[in-house]
Amino acid sequence: MEPLIRIRNLSKRFGQGCSRCRDATGQEQDTNLCPHCGSVMACNDVSFDLFRNEALGVVGESGSGKSTLVRLLHFEWEASEGAVEMHRSAGLENLPEIFATGSDYSFNLLGLSHFQKRQLRNALMGIVYQNPHLGLRMQISSGGNIAERLLGAGWRHIGKMRRRSAELLERTEIPVERMDEPPCNFSGGMQQRVQIAKALSNNPLILFLDEVTTGLDLSVQARVLDLIRNLRSEFNLSMLVVSHDLGVINLLCQRTMVMKSGHVVESGLTDQILQDPQHRYTQLLVASQL
C-alpha cells in the first residue's frame, strides 16, 4: 500500500540560522537551540509516511517539536525546508494542477500558494487543538463554528448547513438544542467535542489532534478518546495524534514516533515502542509513565 502523504526532511527554524545550526542541535546535544546564532530548530529533518485510515502517534516532552510539526503540516506556519507530497488518491478535483502527469504523488505542497494551501486544507484536513480557543470562535454559535468550515468549502444553503451541524453535534454528544449557543457557555469537554465536530464537518481525510485530552478530567478524557476512536473507523480517517500522554497514544495509535529536540529519535509499532523502547529517551519516557 502506498502512503497517503509523504513527509521528507521537514525542518522549521525560528531565527536567522547559520551553517552550524544543524550540527549544534539535536538529541546528542540535548537542545534545539543553536549556541552559535541563537536560532531554535523546532523541527529538524523529520521524515515519515502517513497511510490511509491510520493513526500515527507523536510523543515527546514539551518543546520537542510535536506541535510545530502539526502546524507545518496544517500550513499554519511556513516550513524552512522539506517536502510534503500527497497521493493522487486523495482526490483533489479542484486542484488538478498540483499533480504532474504520470506521477502518483503531488508536487511539494509546501511550495503551493497560500490560496492553494487554503483550498487543500478546506478539502482534506481537520484539526483539533489542545486549547479550544484556538480552534473555535468563542462568541459565535457552535453551529456557526461548524458552518464556517462548510462555508469555506463553498456551502451556501443555511438549512443544509444546519442539518449537517446538528448531525455532527449529535455524533459528538452535544445536545442539538444548544447548537445556537456560543462555545463560551460550554464546559471544557464540550468545547473540545464542538472542536471535533468542526474538524469533521468537511469530511476530512486527515485529522490532526494536538493534545486533545490534555486538561480534561479523566472520565471526560475517556469519552473523548472513545469518540475519536469510533469516528476514525466510521469516517475512514488518517490521524496524526500528538500527545505527551503514552496512554492516549497506546489507545489510539498503531504506529508511533518519538520526538526529542526537534528530531524523530525512534519510530515503530506502538506496542513495540512501549514494550521494548530502544532509544535512551524513549526508555526514560516509558519508565516515567505512572
Partner: protein, 298 residues
Amino acid sequence: MLMREWLQNENEPGSDGAPAAGYPFGFMDEGAKKEIRRSILKAVAIPGYQVPYGSREMPIARGWGTGGLQITLSLVKPDDIFKVIDQGCDGSVNAVNIKKFVAAVADVAITTDTRAATLIQTRHRIPEEPMTDRQILVLQVPYPEALREVEPSEMETRRMHAEADYSRMWLFLYEDIVKYGEITISYRYPVTVNGRYITDPSPIPRWDVPKLHMADTLFLFGAGREKRIYAIPPHTSVEPLEFEDHKFRTENFSGKACARCGATDTYLDEVIDNAGGGRSYFCSDSGYCDKRSLAWNH
C-alpha cells in the same frame, strides 16, 4: 418651487465664467490628477479591488465626500454637465456646496436631470432613472472595506482578499440569519464583483444594489479618508451575498406611493409629521420626483 429653479437662482456662475483665480483647472495640480487617473485605471482593470492612492487635501473635511470629489475633479472636462446628489437629493447643503465648488473651479454646467448629466457625484444613492454608457457615476465611500465588520486589521483583510478567504463574511451573515431569521444589513450590503472580490457598494440602500449588476455605466468609488479608489466597470457581474434558501431582497414599498409625484416604483423616504404624527412618503431621488411632478402638473 422646483429644486432646479431654486438651484439655478442660488447658483449664479462667476461673473466672467472663468475658473477661480490662482487655481489650475479642476483645483488639483496636474500631478495629483494624473495619479488619481492612474489609480482609476487600475481599479477598472481589477473590478472590486481597492487601489490605494494619495488622498489630497480638499477644501472640505475628510469624511464629507473628498474621495468622490477628487475622482470628480480628476475626470471633469469643461463640456461636462455635472450633477451632485446627497442621499438622493440635489438640494442638500453638501450637494449644493460640492456643486458650487466644482462649477467654480472647472466651469461646468450644473443640472438636476439625471438623463442630461454626463458626470454625477453621489452620496448613498444611485439615481432612479437608468444611466447610459455615456455617463459616469462617482460614489462617495466612508468605509471601503466590506470585511471591516468582521476583521479590524487591515493587514488581515488584505490577506483575506488576496486568498479569497471570505468564510468569515459568510459566517457573519449565517449568524444574522440564525439570530434574526434574515440578513439585517440595510445599507452597505456586501457584493461579489466579477465573481472575485467582496466589495462594499458604499452606503446605498439594498434597493440600489441590483442597479450595479451588468450596468451600462461606469461606477467609480472614492474613499478620501481611507485613501482607496475602486470601480465597477460597465457590464460587470455584481452579486449581493445570499444563501440558496435566504435570498437577497430589496426594500418593500408595496402599498405606498410618493405623496408628491405619486410614484410607486421608487425608493421612498418616510417623513413623519411632528405635529400630527402622520406618516407620508416621498421619493428619495429629488431630481426624478421633480421631473414626474412637472409631467403631472402640465
